[in-house]
Amino acid sequence: MYKYNDFDKEFLAARNAQFRAQVARRIDGSLTEDEFRPLRLMNGLYLQLHAYMLRVAVPYGTLSPAQLRQLAMVAERWDKGYGHFTTRQNIQFNWPRLSDVPDILDALAEVGLHAIQTSGNTIRNVTADHFAGAAADEIEDPRPVAELLRQWSTDHPEFQFLPRKFKFAVTGSPKDRAVTRAHDIGLRMVRNAAGEPGFEVLVGGGLGRAPMIGQVVRAFLPKADLLPYVEAIVSVYNLLGRRDNKYKARIKITLHETGLEAFREKVEARFAELRSSFSGVDQAHLAQIEAQFAPPALIKAPLAGFEAALKRDPVFRAWVDTNLAAHRDPDHAIVSISLKAHGATPGDATSDQMRVIADLAEEFSYNELRVSHEQNIILPNVHKSNIFEIHARLKQAGLATANIGLISDIIACPGMDYCALATARSIPVAQEIAERFEALKIEHEVGPLKIKISGCINACGHHHVGHIGILGLDRAGVENYQITLGGDGTEAASLGERAGPGFSAEAIVPAVERLVFCYLDLRETPGETFLEVYRRVGMAPFKAALYPQEKADAA
């Protein structure tokens, strides 16, 4: 993992001291709220419905046990004993007092964490494949590049006042677990004909009000050209991006209005100007970062105990079947810890749970853990001989839910339970769906099914790329939920199609249930997933299941 050097530490200390003084000036009345708001947002501090909310970046989703323990401490000392992991691999504290925030930021700095640029019209936390460095299908660990992008974008003088927020995602695998096609810039590591690693550069993806899938601006970018090239993209956007209309200010609209070819030409022209100014210093720096991401020396141990436990313990077996993914070393596995116990708030972990996870990462995962955009925690490098003990300890902490990728592994934004922008609640819908399918005991039979819920059009809950997407709206003063079907956030990305009129809070869970039973009726083999069935049969049968009355009326 990347360790802060003296420059990083001094930069962060200076920035925190600056914000401490800004908070003091707000409290003593020297700054108005209009003056203070952009300053607090640059430091990740929002004012939400019931309290302030501090959004702390988890760069590319990687945390050390010490960092997670400190987050647990912050949650306990200054919040209400829990944190909320988000779809951008951040953690949010929902209840800090303004006067405590400078102390919280200092505590975070002790372990190399910060909240800089987790809000505002800047380059936000760079997200990455949560299986980075461990996945069996990976070309290269994308995190050194993500760290380079973090350092380049942090306080970048040209990019502090972009037309709108700007999100990067990076993956080193052909299998896209980082939703790169729904980011302002998505970087997918690929190899050229000579076998050299580089990037496919996607631009203009994004969900929200005008959802779009990113387009390929460069099919192969040599690794060494990364910074000048992305700087060219962001600087073209900075000039062309619309500042007259907040809803048309994202790069997806710029790209759409400019046209792919014209946009690409401008980027390439700017790149030609910028390239020489990078002089290789960035590559020397990248090499130093890469050294810090050297893979751990993997242990060897017998696997007989693991295999015996699989035969002996069906609960363990079920959890292994859903929560483990293939590691590049066959004796190791990637363990996903579900933060989606049935009926719990998706993405929430208590301080006690964070400490349990930190201990497990320290003992069994070479001091590393990950936060996924799907709001779960990952132990990326676990020798299979340790998995039975991990499961036992997770069980004691209420963290052994066997549902990764299943219907109850729901992404949900905070919605109107917390968010000032929300138009409806998300969390209770997620809770009720999970509890309903737990009661029906069919989620393992149903198999892979991604439900994603957003509480407003801004789509933090990624509903457009959910196999079943749910969007909460305010219809004449009542919560109303629209369903989209067929969305996909992977390398085969597609946006969901709206099924029809929305459902009330009472009707949305039964509607989802009808969809799932419709799918079970339609699938030709137990292995045909919901998304595959949708792609085969289209909307019509699902629509008929959702709106049975209309079908009856038409008959």
Partner: protein, 104 residues
């Protein structure tokens, strides 16, 4: 031209500067953490004046605005569900107003 809409009752609400929680302007010009203690404003001119008073208190409150409210048996009550959540707290945990019923 459409006739102007009749004025509907409102309360002045905001968030407290330090705590960030929801507060309401009372008839005596103080801030309460309970909607039931807010002044229900039925006159448009008075509502605008009370809002201006709230907005002038930048050292104590953030984002003051007029929220729709109606008279209830225990004082003002919310009209929209958003104000119901602001008055109560989140629905996933017993946190916020539903467990903290202190006055300023």
């Amino acid at each position: 031209m459409m006739a102007p809409r009749p004025f509907t009752p409102k309360v002045v609400t905001a968030n407290a500067l330090i705590e960030g929680d929801v507060i309401y302007l009372t008839a005596d010009g103080c801030w309460s953490r309970r909607l039931s203690q807010a002044e229900l404003l039925t006159d448009e001119a008075r509502a605008e004046a009370r809002l201006a008073l709230a907005q002038a208190q930048a050292g104590r409150v953030v984002g003051a605005y007029l929220a729709e409210a109606k008279a209830g048996p225990d004082g003002p009550a919310p009209v929209h569900f958003r104000e119901e959540f602001r008055r109560t707290g989140p629905s996933n945990y017993p946190h916020g107003k539903q467990v903290e019923q202190k006055n300023v």
